[in-house]
Symmetry: C2
Subunit: 151 residues, 2 copies
DNA sequence: TATTGTTATACTCTATAACTATA
DNA sequence: TATAGTTATAGAGTATAACAATA
């Protein structure tokens, strides 16, 4: 870091520290919720993405930023556990449609509630108006447009 | 979620969504920086923690929330790559002192700069006063006290 | 030829259990 | 007995490369 950095010397650096810490704290909570449901964080994300979508292997891999071969393994293990299923795509003989099973749906809804409950202690450090302001700032930073993981 | 949730129905839920999205966005950047340096995110964290500390296997594992056996492997591989070294603790025959090598130090500093540079596009969506406010809110949420990863 | 998906292979990350050496 | 650390083992996550089937 040199002082030539544009407007990020004093507040930018601190912000980045805070963002990284908040990210680790949040991921730790998500990890714990996933682990309590006997899932990895990646599996939790797979369920969250499939919450209201049916996708092919490649599309799902793209959502997660993973290789399709990695995706095959993840889906395989989740399917073996009865959380989702693969079905042939009627309009494309090569493609599959991956979707949550009813058991997977139930689990996903339960995990959502747990995520909210587990993150509440953290957000409760702020007053309601502060929470509101934080939400607005984060949404603004993230681009405002709608592209969240779970729906 | 029911409407009986205390003061978290309208803004709390949205905030949690925003926090999770911000966490994933931040982790994606950290992951990419790590991968560019041929490291896993965990290895990046190890380097960050050792940036200004010398620690034993157990202490390091506690920082990361991992088992000490996991730590042994991580340290072993990092040592093999010349990023850190283990030395006998003079005052305790069982313990080791893990510290960055000069190569590890250089790499860590470089990665720090890259993390800042890589997160800047995201934070630049906000104006300087907004960044300042976001930082304050995040720090407040995280507890205010000083317990960041890298120093 | 390009795309969709899987399989084979290899490596890292991770935990549990058993172990050695020191305290 | 308790603590610090390693090793053995097993399984999940990940990428690369090679492959089959379909478009």
């Amino acid at each position: 870091m040199t002082s030539s950095d544009r407007s990020s010397a004093s507040d930018g650096e601190g912000l980045i520290d805070a963002l990284v810490q908040a990210a680790f704290a949040t991921m730790a909570v998500l990890n714990k919720v996933a682990a309590d449901g006997d899932l990895s964080l990646t599996q939790l994300r797979v369920l969250a993405i499939l919450r209201d979508r049916r996708l092919g292997t490649t599309a799902l891999a793209d959502y997660l930023g993973l290789e399709k071969s990695t995706m095959s393994g993840l889906v395989e293990r989740a399917e073996k556990r009865g959380l989702l299923q693969r079905a042939q795509d009627a309009s494309d003989g090569r493609a599959v449609e991956i979707s949550l099973s009813s058991r997977g749906k139930k689990l996903t809804e339960r995990l959502y509630v747990q995520v909210e409950g587990s993150l509440n202690p953290m957000t409760s450090a702020l007053s309601p108006p502060e929470r509101q302001r934080l939400r607005v700032l984060l949404e603004r930073m993230l681009g405002g447009s709608d592209r969240r993981e779970g729906g």
